[in-house]
């Protein structure tokens, strides 16, 4: 079940309709498949290739460039510990060492129960809250070693309802009702927007 399911296929078609060229939907569709499966599988990439009308190799080419797309399983909770310069200055390396020790796995590995994996990541734009981390892309600010352990305990007991499973990005999506859509003009449509022409006439 790695191809997009029916509901996601419907969403995929909506996303595709917003772009003048189908290939532009590639990254949003890769996110959608990661949301469905927790990672990006080969079958999903083949399905996306059909949808955006490129070869599977081109999908892999794009997919493999971006860090958020995981082509291998990760923990239910993927912990991204920031080691950018601001977090580095305030103890990111200690947090990383501590994560390895307390989870009993190395960077990139998954704990035996499948719950956790972690890695050091580049700056996540929370520099005044250093050292910081993200669990499935939800921020945890000003982490010290005790706070890290508490976080792990809470996550292990599924006590963090605000953190969805890995792959889920925004819980709210942009939805444009068809009657409100200005309507994408074709890439080859060289006429100025209608509103602009009328605006000029009325001036």
């Amino acid at each position: 079940m790695s191809r997009l399911n029916e509901e996601n296929l419907r969403l995929a078609r909506q996303i595709l309709s917003l772009y003048p060229k189908k290939k532009s939907a590639m990254i949003p569709l890769l996110h959608l498949s990661q949301e469905q499966n927790g990672m990006v599988t080969n079958e999903a990439m083949e399905h996306i290739a059909e949808l955006v009308e490129v070869t599977p190799a081109e999908v892999l080419g794009t997919c493999s460039f971006y860090e958020m797309f995981k082509r291998h399983p990760v923990g239910e909770y993927q912990i991204n510990i920031c080691h950018g310069i601001s977090c580095h200055l305030l103890g990111a390396e200690e947090v990383l060492d501590h994560a390895e020790e307390s989870l009993g796995v190395r960077e990139g590995e998954i704990t035996k129960d499948g719950k956790f994996s972690f890695e050091g990541v580049e700056c996540i734009a929370a520099c005044t809250e250093a050292p910081c981390l993200q669990v499935n892309y939800r921020y945890i600010n000003k982490v010290n070693l005790d706070a890290f352990d508490e976080l792990i305990t809470d996550l292990r007991d599924d006590q963090k309802a605000e953190i969805p499973k890995h792959g889920t990005l925004a819980k709210t999506r942009q939805k444009i009702p068809s009657e409100k859509l200005a309507g994408p003009s074709g890439v080859e449509d060289a006429t100025p927007p209608e509103w602009l022409q009328r605006n000029k006439e009325s001036q």
Binding site: S86, L90, L169
Partner: protein, 439 residues
């Protein structure tokens, strides 16, 4: 502090991110005014404001808009919300706490530029920001601030939210366009230097930063002249700076552009409150990881673009990172170089190979296997990426990422060369074998 808050006025308003909160606090007045004007007049106000781009390069937005070739369509506006320069933390807050202000700025810009499709590229890791801006866009469409027939007029424009997926290089505007086209985010060969003539799908495209566009509603509501009166002559308006690192109160502050000094921001009680634990200042990064470092003697420099440029660095993306006397300079330097090495897209050889070797040499120095000639070797590699190691840097690469890795090395060596030498003196003198090779 005798200036109005332009971009951060709603950060403390609890529901400032909702349409209700936004309208209650004066939102969408700029758009109403813009629609009473002609598109060219709106553009003229932005030119009068002398609004400098807030993404990093600091190019005047009104002039950039003027690069669009007349009478060529379709044309696009692409919003750069891929904030990822280390130390930079402003666009994410603007997106999370005042998404309607950004949407209003986009819609006004589309009107001025005479186009009907805008793509809002937001960094993928900002899940909360994605949710906030998606909700705000849904409200804006429902209530006629975006989409078909905006505010009951003929004017129609689609603002489409696009997700990034984690790549620093995508902040470079031609890489952003590549990414938006569904490709690997690699910068395009220049010229053209601006995508205004050949951009998204090969069509005229303007790429503006989130903070830049968040200034537009105020400018149109109050006029370009009123904006230009705030701040310094060439660095007008206000700017948001994030102060992080070894300070008492790390924070994100909107200040008068060109007037406030680094000392005010780093030491001022109203701002970051001074160095932590009464320690001494060792160095600070004035404008994000790409910027050459500043030291004690630069504290009284005003946050003004030209002055900072002339002193050999840049305000970049408004990110000030403070290092106190306890900082291990070699480790800090290694940290920043590692960033550029990992984020190099691999398109240009000097950057792909050079940043990688710089990281390896610094690794070796830190691990106690440094060689006396390593300092010269570092500078030699730097010289191959950016000939002469000058400021502004010369490039052997398509984009400035490679030369950015030179900044921390030249800065750290210029002032704290002895720390590198001390690490090298620790050389264990015992050959170590890694992957079958003696290093």
């Amino acid at each position: 502090m005798n200036f109005p808050l332009i971009t951060t006025s709603r950060w403390d308003v609890e529901d400032g991110h909702t349409l209700e909160g936004y309208l209650r606090t004066g939102g969408y007045q700029g758009l109403r005014r813009a629609l009473e004007m002609a598109p060219d007049q709106v553009h003229e106000e932005v030119k009068k404001a002398s609004l400098l781009g807030r993404g990093g390069a600091g190019f005047p937005a009104g002039i950039k808009w003027g690069f669009l070739p007349p009478d060529v369509w379709p044309r696009y506006l692409v919003v750069n919300g891929d904030e990822s320069e280390p130390g930079t933390y402003k666009d994410r807050i603007l997106i999370e706490r005042d998404p309607h202000q950004l949407i209003e700025g986009c819609v006004i810009a589309c009107f001025a530029l005479g186009l009907s499709q805008c793509f809002l590229y937001v960094r993928g890791e900002m899940a909360h920001g994605q949710e906030r801006i998606a909700s705000a866009l849904n409200e804006a469409y429902e209530h006629g601030y975006a989409g078909r027939s905006i505010l009951g007029t003929e004017f129609s424009v689609d603002v489409v939210l696009h997700w990034g997926a984690g790549a620093y290089i995508v902040g470079e505007e031609t890489a952003l366009i590549e990414s938006l086209e569904g490709n690997r985010g690699m910068p395009r060969l220049k010229p053209p230097y601006f995508p205004a003539s050949i951009g998204l799908y090969g069509k005229p495209t303007i790429v503006n930063n989130v903070e830049t566009l968040s200034n537009i509603p105020w400018i149109i509501e109050h006029g370009g002249d009123a904006f230009a009166e705030i701040g310094a002559e060439k660095s007008t308006g206000t700017r948001i700076f994030a102060v992080s690192g070894h300070v008492k109160n790390p924070g994100v502050f909107e200040v008068e552009f060109g007037i406030t000094t680094f000392r005010d921001l780093i030491m001022g009680e109203d701002y970051a409150g001074g160095i932590r634990d009464g320690n001494a200042l060792k160095a600070f990064i004035p404008g994000g990881a790409s910027a050459p470092w500043f030291f004690e003697e630069h504290l009284d420099t005003p946050l003004e673009k030209t002055i900072v440029d002339n002193q050999g660095s840049m305000l970049g993306s408004g990110a000030i990172v403070v290092m106190d006397e306890t900082t291990d300079i070699v480790k800090a330097c290694h940290n920043v170089v590692r960033f550029f090495s990992r984020e190099s897209c691999g398109k240009c050889t000097p950057c792909r190979e050079g940043t990688n070797w710089l990281e390896k040499i610094l690794d070796r120095i830190l691990n106690g296997h440094g060689r006396p000639e390593d300092i010269d070797l570092l500078l030699d590699v730097c010289d191959n990426i950016s000939p002469g190691i000058t400021w502004p840097p010369k490039q052997t690469t398509i984009c400035p990422l490679g030369p950015s890795a030179v900044s921390p090395i030249s800065s750290a060596l210029q002032r704290y060369r002895s720390e590198f030498e001390a690490y090298i003196a620790l050389n264990r003198a015992t050959p170590v074998t890694v992957e079958g090779r003696t290093v």
